[in-house]
Symmetry: D2
Subunit: 374 residues, 4 copies
Amino acid sequence: MPTFSHPDFAAARFTQAPDARFVPAPADGVLPEEFFSTTNLPTYVRVKGQWRMPNEPRMDSALVLDAAGELWVREGRRVRKGDLVAVGHAEDGSEGIFVHAAAFMGDATEGEFKFMTSEVSREKPIDYALMAGILIEERERGGYPVWVTGPALVHSRARNDMAWFIANGFVGALLAGNAVAVHDIEASIFSTTLGMTSSGEATTGGHGLHMRAINKVRAAGSIARAVEQGIVKDGIMYACVMHKVPFVLTGSIRDDGPLPDVITDALAAQDAMKRHTTKATMAILIATALHAIATGNMLPAFVTEADGSLRELPTICVDSSEFVVSKLKDRGTHQAFGVVTNAQDFMHILRLYVERELDARGTAARPRAVAAAR
Amino acid sequence: MPTFSHPDFAAARFTQAPDARFVPAPADGVLPEEFFSTTNLPTYVRVKGQWRMPNEPRMDSALVLDAAGELWVREGRRVRKGDLVAVGHAEDGSEGIFVHAAAFMGDATEGEFKFMTSEVSREKPIDYALMAGILIEERERGGYPVWVTGPALVHSRARNDMAWFIANGFVGALLAGNAVAVHDIEASIFSTTLGMTSSGEATTGGHGLHMRAINKVRAAGSIARAVEQGIVKDGIMYACVMHKVPFVLTGSIRDDGPLPDVITDALAAQDAMKRHTTKATMAILIATALHAIATGNMLPAFVTEADGSLRELPTICVDSSEFVVSKLKDRGTHQAFGVVTNAQDFMHILRLYVERELDARGTAARPRAVAAAR
Amino acid sequence: MPTFSHPDFAAARFTQAPDARFVPAPADGVLPEEFFSTTNLPTYVRVKGQWRMPNEPRMDSALVLDAAGELWVREGRRVRKGDLVAVGHAEDGSEGIFVHAAAFMGDATEGEFKFMTSEVSREKPIDYALMAGILIEERERGGYPVWVTGPALVHSRARNDMAWFIANGFVGALLAGNAVAVHDIEASIFSTTLGMTSSGEATTGGHGLHMRAINKVRAAGSIARAVEQGIVKDGIMYACVMHKVPFVLTGSIRDDGPLPDVITDALAAQDAMKRHTTKATMAILIATALHAIATGNMLPAFVTEADGSLRELPTICVDSSEFVVSKLKDRGTHQAFGVVTNAQDFMHILRLYVERELDARGTAARPRAVAAAR
Amino acid sequence: MPTFSHPDFAAARFTQAPDARFVPAPADGVLPEEFFSTTNLPTYVRVKGQWRMPNEPRMDSALVLDAAGELWVREGRRVRKGDLVAVGHAEDGSEGIFVHAAAFMGDATEGEFKFMTSEVSREKPIDYALMAGILIEERERGGYPVWVTGPALVHSRARNDMAWFIANGFVGALLAGNAVAVHDIEASIFSTTLGMTSSGEATTGGHGLHMRAINKVRAAGSIARAVEQGIVKDGIMYACVMHKVPFVLTGSIRDDGPLPDVITDALAAQDAMKRHTTKATMAILIATALHAIATGNMLPAFVTEADGSLRELPTICVDSSEFVVSKLKDRGTHQAFGVVTNAQDFMHILRLYVERELDARGTAARPRAVAAAR
């Protein structure tokens, strides 16, 4: 993954720049008129002559300077009346705020005639070896890969593969909606998803099976208890519970049930997701437009290493259509690398490559022991 | 639109059937183990020898008999401990519950070799004249067409057309997410959507404009107040406010802001949507998978007329890809008629056909006066 | 694969039917006005009181009775003035021609409410084990699987996998267009496809590399000679040449070059393809709408075994979008089973499953020795 | 439309450049090893100290200097043994050939964080007013707009609109495949396309109707004679015949029939198409990947005006999916402007805007009288 240098703050454009200007928020959840709106790129704010990076970077938010002099990126809805919020539109440092765009957004086109220059296309080769290598390295160094999945993953029988990644320490946290857990649990109890068998047949009475699955978990009180009681015996949620991998299930208006663990308030759900995205060192977004964009909104495009250096946050977006990946990029998650394929096939081959690479390295796949001890 | 007869309950299969069996719910929000799971089709429940249709029909729910002897279709989460819930799996009346599937799901294939038999395809002609006719008839008889839209509608400049339908009495209620209102209001204030101009150009600093639009409305306190204060001067939300067309904005984890009117709790949002879907006499679902499926889940496939007769509930689903329409049908909204096109073009031509038909009938387009008086 | 019985011709509807009526063609390539237009389903023609099946069944063609009393399905353009052509529209035997549709087209819908009933969807599981099993069985019994591929297969690095299937006896014939061979040969010579590297980068000067590859083969005189001369050293075309697997490269207006082996006349190309489709016992159509539909048009939906019994002709259609598969079915190839995924991933997993199954059976993958001796 | 200046050939990089080097072709249809491979951009070749532009510019071809000293862009297959062919890889003039890429391929990205920067998306607004204006201006100045269409146009009832454009002088030439004409003529004779009615219903016996339509035209001898004989009474091909708008129907392996006018040899068909693309001043590519890319390959990205000045050749590509437009661009037709919508809707609205604009200008739509006199 590419790494990036910090700008040279000894340059005149930085030494001559003013401090950023902060203005108190006029009301709870309301920003000053000319607030600076953040991006997901490395951002430096000049405070008392020092260029500093704010905590918890994400896009579409404000820069807040707290009483202790700490700088935060904070969603407008979380700002309280009187909080000091940075104002200004310039991103070039001239108003005390610098967005380090060049490294990330740089020279796409050099004015040369070429074929095959599109960014996202099913005609591009998929480098599974590269992705497998990144995943293994993340595990080696104790990274925090965030996996975000849509329900197609479960329908199309990638359940086992997803559970394998969870069980073997490749998943820092799982972010999904109610439907992923519902289909997964229906599959565990009834061997169907929305009443469809694992060979793709619709079944008589099958339309009610997801409701029966939900009802059983509601009766048990939580997914964890449904696992304990032997109602849920395998699959994705089972793996999360058994290997103590944290998950966030966020609600939507489409939800049946929902399952007891689902956070039905969107703002509370965002806050729960963000507790994981702020720790993320990698993101894998599979077969979901809504959750992928939601996560992309919360993610910085970069990882800040312990030594302060920056590297790109590897972000893989898998979808059957180019549109979802382009849409994600159009919402600012430019760092996303698009893989245009079926989620089932993606999971199957990715696991295969990871297993081969582990074999080659003599590193066994291993139950997530460290994680379990957390 | 097709109409349907009730079954002949004098037939032996019905006269010899038992009453439906009801069992108390074991806990709040938990259904009895063998609960009957509803569909969106006309359903008859035998109570004390009488075949009756429940109130508020929808799929994925339970049948509840209340203390007053009234029958309801109710979501499992809304059932309270001790409520009497119908049990049984049979849909053929043999256990006292009959789903009138034949009329709706009938003989698709008669074993004949034909071309062009797919249900959803961009190669199918789009009958705008038919759709325009249905819309006008709904207005004539005081129907309640529910419009459900995704943000692509706003991006691609169908704003004016949507506002026209609202202003002229063709919209009973508008159901959408935060993003529709955000893009619409950004367009009103800044003439951009996500910073893209109306000719499709990305603008410098444009990435923050939706946040600025949200912030202005949050400062005003509500969309209605932002209209009153002259902040929002045109567009979809403006038309809703001015013509007193009710709208429901439901939250999602992807939301920026959100706007003050957004219902962020998914269950409260579902309840708010359902207040409109239970009145719906037509549904138009445009460029949204999430909201279309959510609405499809809540909608009966039929309208019960004042005289008790049944007709199909016209349900139009517009999307750029066949997949969304097929997915909606795969979730049980079989009555949906798919239109595979761009939302912008759909709105433009539909309005044109409605205007022509009004001209032909000598009926002027007219501000929604009756509606405004509600 | 399903097998089918012949109809019971002792039934009254057949014993009382008249002989089919034949009328001379009015001119070369022109059929009599009321000609019977064929389908791809088992068809029986009553001639002198006997119900007989014609040779070389395919859709969109005519039934011709030759001087020797043989029955043929023949494209209109190949009919000569005076040839005896069957007339009539009825497919139920009442005019002496019976299309055995029931077995194939049968009862799709039984009027029951179900989820997940769509025919083609990315949400359907993909049964690689089943497909691998069919392929191995075809090899065991000396079947003739016809593979039809589009260029995306080559772009996305499934070249090796395709070459493996060719080398190991799983390919009866390869049907493709100029582009497949061009990209494959560019990859062999320059390690790019349309100038894109195997990791997806566009290269400077890369836009001309496919032209240079074509030019080298044109200079050599044929693909086989380019292999002999060591210009083409690996890949799909190399494997065909080395293992003597026949291929047909058909021309199109989009072609660069073309390569010397390409049949540029569409009718000659159809005739060349049909020499293989009439022998086909299985069809695998990957990432091509044009060639898949072309092949579907020529293929019967069934295989006639040596003993006269019938079975469905396994037809797998792989594409990134549901649309191509639906379009193929809409053109009458109803027997096609759709796999909605990326061609690269499909090939990789299919090979993996075939290898595993061969291992499990103790049957080694083996160079196509029998084939090579042809 | 953007216009472009020629480079300043007084600059040192041009005055110091050598003449281009020409080498005789080693055999018919075979280019010298290091041939220069052309692009669709303005290209200048230094011959005897003069920078000159070749005739008939297109991509994927060679530069040939004929005996008369004329420069041509010529497909490799058309080069004869001994023809002088330019060699070299450099496009910057240093080997005597300069590709003027900057104007066309210029600075896409300036390293700034923006939303909505994707090139092709259904979320982009469609500027019908702009396209209508260009079409009218082309008609005003006697331009030569080439329309290239796929069969979806006919299926989905845009027939009338296409015929209107033909009849009113907006079509220089129509380039299509056999299927467009077949569906159009089936619609005229039987009111169906592939047996589907204009309201989208599959009909009994409908699968044979396209074959019956083809057979009638084959009996008549040509489309023009079928029009004369009253067999074809309306539609696209009828309009071409009546208004003497030239059309090229190119064959493919998928073709039924084909119709008598179809050029079945791909190379002859390319030559026929190129006679129109070399005159083109605008290109409109609708609902066809194959023909759009074929045309894109043959088209320069620019128009050379009578006075020698250059302007971009307006190229509109309409398809239901982003993929086709991106694929066209990935094959080098970078100038294409993508419209992601349904062909039927595109045609309907475009016509509407053209009619409105003609009204506004007081210019009546008018039968193509001048054209008819050609």
